[in-house]
């Protein structure tokens, strides 16, 4: 894979390898980082930061069931299976939290580990193992596999045929991105009410449950769409780290929902692109070869948060 940083970003724009190997991963990263950072703010505020991690495991039985029903491992079947399992996870967590009266973390833990175990057993007993449907395919990133063969230079972008060979997850992520922006901008007042003061919302006739449900539905769609493109561990990191970092670095600004969401989106984007640059640019320079980009981005996010946590504490 070519390096973006090593020989200058501008020079790279002309190179074929950049367009074929780096353009689609960068686009997927940019789209999913902004989408997930925005939605992650709401999860952090609702103290459901581990929801993404729970989904990452809980989608497994959905994938197997979708394969059993359709007999295909195609992206649409997998997406629908994962989406179904994700919605089941949300609903079950809600039931367990409300009626089981267990702490939210424990409720989430019971639901997602149970579903994950169900997925593992289904894989082993239904013969899904033989079609290469394994735990790895949901747990490891596929960012490096987003190859765009039909493009050789920037000039090709004007040609419609070029776009046909674009990996399908990039337009899918773009669609989810637009949906997210529309929802968060369009429903920002009811959303803020539902999160900060659901009782007041109910008393003035609003339906905070509906708004919260829509939010979780959207999170599930965004997370599932991102799994395939960037890998599940990156999804967990991109969801939570920007919002959490911002709460540490600028607590006052993070108290304002609009500033928190905007800032997290920006921070998520910068971290994602910088992490990718480190993976494909600095890695080879340091003699390590290209690094795992999903891992580099999440690690970078954690390091930034750690530095912020230490320095902000000193300042206090």
């Amino acid at each position: 894979m070519s390096s973006v940083l090593a020989s200058g970003a501008l020079g790279q724009l002309a190179s074929t390898t950049f367009w074929q190997l780096d353009a689609a991963p960068l686009a997927a990263l940019a789209l999913s980082s902004v989408t997930l950072a925005i939605l992650g703010c709401f999860l952090v505020l609702r103290r459901q930061a581990l929801f993404g991690d729970a989904l990452a495991h809980a989608v497994l039985p959905g994938l197997v069931v979708a394969w059993l029903i359709t007999g295909s491992r195609g992206p649409l079947a997998m997406f629908l299976g994962a989406l179904g399992a994700g919605l089941v996870t949300s609903a079950l967590t809600l039931v367990v939290t409300r009626y089981g009266r267990v702490e939210r973390g424990a409720a989430l833990g019971v639901v997602f580990t149970g579903l994950f175990a169900l997925g593992v057993v289904l894989i082993e007993t239904t013969g899904a193992r033989q079609v290469d449907l394994d735990i790895g395919c949901v747990l490891s990133g596929q960012l490096e596999l987003l190859v765009w063969p039909g493009v050789t230079s920037a000039r090709d972008l004007l040609d419609a045929a070029t776009w046909r060979s674009l990996p399908h997850s990039v337009p899918a992520l773009a669609l989810v991105h637009v949906l997210t922006l529309a929802f968060v901008l369009g429903a920002r007042r009811p959303l803020a009410l539902a999160i900060f003061d659901p009782r007041f919302a109910r008393s003035i006739g609003a339906r905070p449950g509906v708004c919260g449900g829509a939010l979780y539905g959207l999170v599930t769609v965004a997370v599932v769409a991102s799994f395939e493109a960037v890998g599940s561990i990156l999804v967990v990191g991109l969801l939570v780290t920007p919002a959490a970092t911002l709460r540490l670095a600028a607590p006052r600004a993070a108290g304002n929902l609009g500033q928190l969401v905007g800032g997290a989106a920006l921070l998520g984007l910068v971290t994602a692109l910088a992490g990718y640059g480190i993976a494909v640019g600095l890695g080879p320079l340091a003699g390590l070869g290209t690094l795992d980009a999903a891992g580099t981005v999440t690690t970078l996010g954690g390091v930034v948060l750690g530095v912020v946590a230490v320095t902000c504490r000193v300042r206090q």
């Binding site: 833990g109 580990t113 994950f116 082993e124 939570v240 891992g295 946590a309």
Partner: protein
């Protein structure tokens, strides 16, 4: 079915019995330790610890290879996993205690970044040498085939240690969980106790590392205590019931997986634990879905009949 009876009545042969005993002990220890983790609202710390094992394992492998040792030594890899797990637990504690982050956000951040670091290191390890690194990831994700007696001995030994520590510190743990301020004024070392609890969780997670799989051992720490909480409230009883439910999950899970073709033991154990939780959620006489629905109906009838409505505390 005959096979299942045979295994359940300990007539399945020596190796099967060793595995049964190991899994039962692990379930018992996980249930007891998990109870205190749940009361302290640290249930999902185990989730972060299990993910944090990956950088430890891969890092230990890389370090050993760099110094010319063979990277495949199991004790070394486990030591790496334990070290990184404890570092992650420390990071979560520090973030929760000293910053404005809530426990869930701190856990998620540490989980994601340590696992991300793990994938980077694993990638390097896979490139470093041909073949030597095979199975490194399997160490973390668990064996999907049957359990070995070697796993069972390790599991049993670690579980006994964790159990003894939990029994000794249980009282102090529950004081800290229910009233941290009181614990502090009576001179209990709150921070040390929290660290000890995290270390116990790490120990149980490590015990289940190879046999159950690190991602699934989380379930053993979470589901039995959550199920027990639906039946009983007093802490000592809670820990005992949770331990018993965990032990039953381990025992029945191993027995089932020994008789079903291709069923991986770890996942079956977790499914049994989840089924016990689901049954408790429906059937518990005070908090179960059935009991709640019945109570609502009685109250609604009383209200319609114009009688005074007094709800008994569940």
């Amino acid at each position: 079915m005959d096979g299942l009876c045979e295994v359940l009545t300990l007539r399945g042969g020596f190796n099967t019995n060793v595995v049964l005993a190991g899994a039962t002990l692990l379930g018992l220890a996980a249930g007891v330790v998990g109870t205190f983790a749940m009361l302290r609202e640290r249930s999902l710390v185990a989730d972060a610890l299990s993910h944090a094992a990956l950088p430890g394992v891969a890092g230990a492998f890389l370090a050993a290879s760099a110094f010319g040792f063979t990277g495949r030594s199991l004790p070394l890899l486990l030591l790496g996993a334990l070290t990184s797990g404890l570092l992650a637990a420390g990071a979560i504690e520090a973030l929760t205690r000293r910053t404005r982050l809530a426990a869930d956000a701190a856990t998620a951040v540490v989980l994601a970044s340590s696992f991300g670091l793990g994938t980077v290191l694993l990638g390097l390890a896979q490139r470093a040498e041909g073949g030597g690194q095979a199975g490194l990831a399997g160490l973390v994700f668990g064996r999907t085939a049957g359990m070995l007696t070697r796993d069972a001995y390790l599991m049993g030994a670690l579980a006994i240690v964790a159990l003894a520590a939990a029994a000794a510190l249980g009282r102090a743990f529950s004081v800290v969980a229910f009233n941290e301020r009181f614990a502090r004024t009576t001179g209990l070392p709150v921070r040390a106790l929290d660290t000890a609890l995290a270390a116990l969780v790490a120990l149980v997670t490590l015990a289940g590392l190879q046999a159950v799989g690190m991602l699934l051992v989380v379930a053993l720490l979470v589901a039995p205590p959550a199920a027990a909480r639906l039946w009983v409230t007093e802490v000592r009883t809670l820990a005992s019931v949770a331990g018993a439910l965990g032990a039953v999950s381990g025992f029945v899970g191993v027995a089932l997986s020994a008789t079903l073709p291709n069923a991986p033991a770890g996942a079956v154990i977790v499914l049994v634990a989840s089924a016990l939780f689901a049954a408790s959620l429906v059937l518990s006489p005070t908090r179960g879905l059935v009991a709640v629905a019945r109570r609502r109906r009685v109250l609604a009838q009383a209200a319609r009949a114009g009688q005074p409505v007094v709800e008994a505390a569940p």
